[in-house]
Homo-oligomer: 371 residues x 2
């Protein structure tokens, strides 16, 4: 490939621990017999994510009760290529039901901007705060005044809350203010939001404006986590491109590490936001035997693949060279090796109150290879 | 009057200190050469209110800068029959200007539901919090998620905030929750909201629903202040009745004291919410020589007056018999005596930081009788 050689410069290879995508969007999550979850794990491990937290909202509905949770769990039993955990979504009237599912999911998601049946009233959110176990994480995609509302409730209940997919200057500033004043709030920003704006795709309201994007970079210290999220899927849908569970996953690391190559971030900034903080905030298990090797500083032009990307044809400066999962190399130079799916549904990890937490190996169930 | 004698029962006469209407709506407040402010003070003193806090939003615009403040002050110089103070309204871009007017007004009003140019963004409200002197009161009419937003900002800035004209179950519950958790929040409910609902006037969205009204009564302990507010004016407008600055003022005390006669409130409940709490919350001067005598328990049918009332023809059980202002009787059995306007613009009272407050007589300027 001539174009690669032309741009070749000195480069460095870096080791990272297995990374976490804290917001994986799986369109067919609650559709019976969907292989979307399996495909999401396969694309994720190839991209360097050894753990994904699956958003409970999907194209075909949400995980919002025991029944829909069962469907997602069943889809998970097809076999996963990385570890994953499931969450449950709050609806306007499922505050009671979620308390029954709490033990089987990793967190409660309170949606304000996803699909139907969003939470609209403070009183409804209040009911969910009261119903949800105090030690378990709560995540929301609330914006502007909705964000302020839920931060108030979190503050009044002395609860931790994680705000996902922040895109605006106002919201990141409010979160920064909250942190400064002692609120237990954390947040993530989609990697796409750091690299694409409404200037690139006019009319795309879910992308930050140029000004918003500049503010996100300015408030880097306020951003606890980088995520993939549903933004790549939304963008594909908006542009009438093929929407697929894999959209955006492979772009994540090359994009964020290109920012490292460009001097906008350090490797440490990335490791903290894709490994350390996700594990701490969401009380995830430590994945021994999961690691990756990335190469930074060698520019190349992104070529089209089966999975649509808005970055095709653009110059990137980082690649994932090797991914190791459970001490076995599963992906080399972007090519998935022939391995069986050995990922585990880790949803119940951390389900017990902190005082009763058992060590990780003891709670890890036997993995189910796909039959 | 035969109908009065028919219903006559034992009754009691009660002494009250001069009362405070913390939210007087004056339509012509910032209209040049309007006598609305004077007429509001006249109707107020006759109704037992020796002090009114004038809302800075009006039919013809808001007090939102030094210029509009000057117009209102000029209107105040026509002579007032009770004491009053003025406030300033936040707009989306006057955070800086209000800091210049802070010394000349009693409080900052942050409107979300009045007229044009409401505050819509958390960042705008944030700017006002930062620009407003920390010791001076802030009032808002925010509802639902807007209310939650502003409570969050008040909490993060450790500021007191007063919520005016609460009408819904959700809002009063949120305020109760806030108080329980230590937020410095106070609130008032319009006396009309306690006695009229959407059942009485279908489609009247600014009135509470029946369920909301029941909740307001249930949360009586959460209600710090009873107010007149703009609700009577809004109702008159909605029903296409004559809208006048006096609407609702004369109804206030007979209505709330009828609830005393009906055993739903004690006299103490009323005194605390129309005198003690308003003075404490808004750091008002103590009005020595202001008092009133009310009669409770003698039922009568409210007759029509020049000022429209939705209660005309209804049975009430309390009347204001005598109002004393500056140690002089100014109103007897509902008839205003021929007195000169001796009320004072008290807007600058309390403008100095707490440590420098001078005793009330020393800062009370010489009153200006109307020429
Ligand atoms: Zn190399
Ligand atoms: Zn149950
Ligand atoms: Zn609660
Ligand atoms: Zn690790
Ligand atoms: Zn009598
Ligand atoms: Zn200035
Ligand atoms: Zn501030
Ligand atoms: Zn007093």
């Amino acid at each position: 490939d001539i174009s690669i050689r032309d741009y070749q410069t000195s480069h460095r290879t870096i080791q990272l621990p297995g990374l976490v995508n804290i917001a994986a969007f799986v369109p067919g999550l609650v559709s019976r017999d969907s292989d979307d979850l399996q495909r999401a794990t396969k694309a994720s491990i190839a991209a360097g994510f050894s753990m994904i937290r699956v958003m409970p909202v999907s194209k075909g509905g949400s995980i919002s009760d025991v029944k829909s949770l069962k469907v997602a769990q069943q889809n998970g039993k097809r076999g996963a290529y990385c570890d994953f955990n499931l969450s449950i979504a709050a609806t306007s009237d499922n505050a009671h039901q979620i308390s029954h599912a709490a033990g089987e999911v990793g967190s409660l998601f309170i949606p304000f901007n996803h699909l139907s049946d969003n939470i609209s009233k403070v009183a409804q959110v209040e009911a969910h705060f009261d119903a949800w176990p105090t030690h378990k994480p709560i995540i929301t995609d609330a914006r502007t005044t909705d964000l302020a509302s839920i931060l108030l409730l979190a503050s009044l209940h002395n609860r931790r809350i994680h705000v996902t997919a922040v895109t605006t200057k106002d919201d990141i500033k409010l979160i920064a203010l909250g942190k400064e004043k002692g609120l237990k709030v954390t947040c993530d920003v989609s990697i796409y939001s750091l690299h694409l704006s409404q200037k690139d795709f006019p009319g795309c309201q879910f992308l930050p404006t140029e000004e918003d994007q500049a503010a996100l970079w300015e408030y880097l210290e306020t951003i606890d986590v980088f995520s993939v999220g549903s933004l790549p899927y939304q963008l594909a849908h908006f542009l009438k491109k093929p929407t697929d569970v894999t959209v955006g996953i492979a772009d994540a690391l090359p994009l964020i590490l290109t920012s490292v190559a460009d001097g906008k971030l350090t490797v440490e900034d990335v490791r903290v936001r894709l490994h350390d903080n996700p594990i701490r905030i969401f009380e995830l298990h430590e994945q021994l035997g999961a690691s990756l090797e990335v190469e930074i500083d060698r520019p190349y032009t992104l070529e089209a693949t089966e999975s649509w990307s808005p970055f095709t044809g653009k110059t990137l400066k980082a690649t994932v060279q090797r991914v190791t999962f459970q001490d076995e190399t599963v992906c080399l130079d972007g090519t998935m090796l022939s391995v069986s799916p050995r990922g585990t549904d880790m949803s119940t990890h951390g389900a017990l109150p902190p005082t009763a937490v058992v060590s990780t190996p003891a709670v890890r169930p036997v993995t189910q290879p796909m039959s």
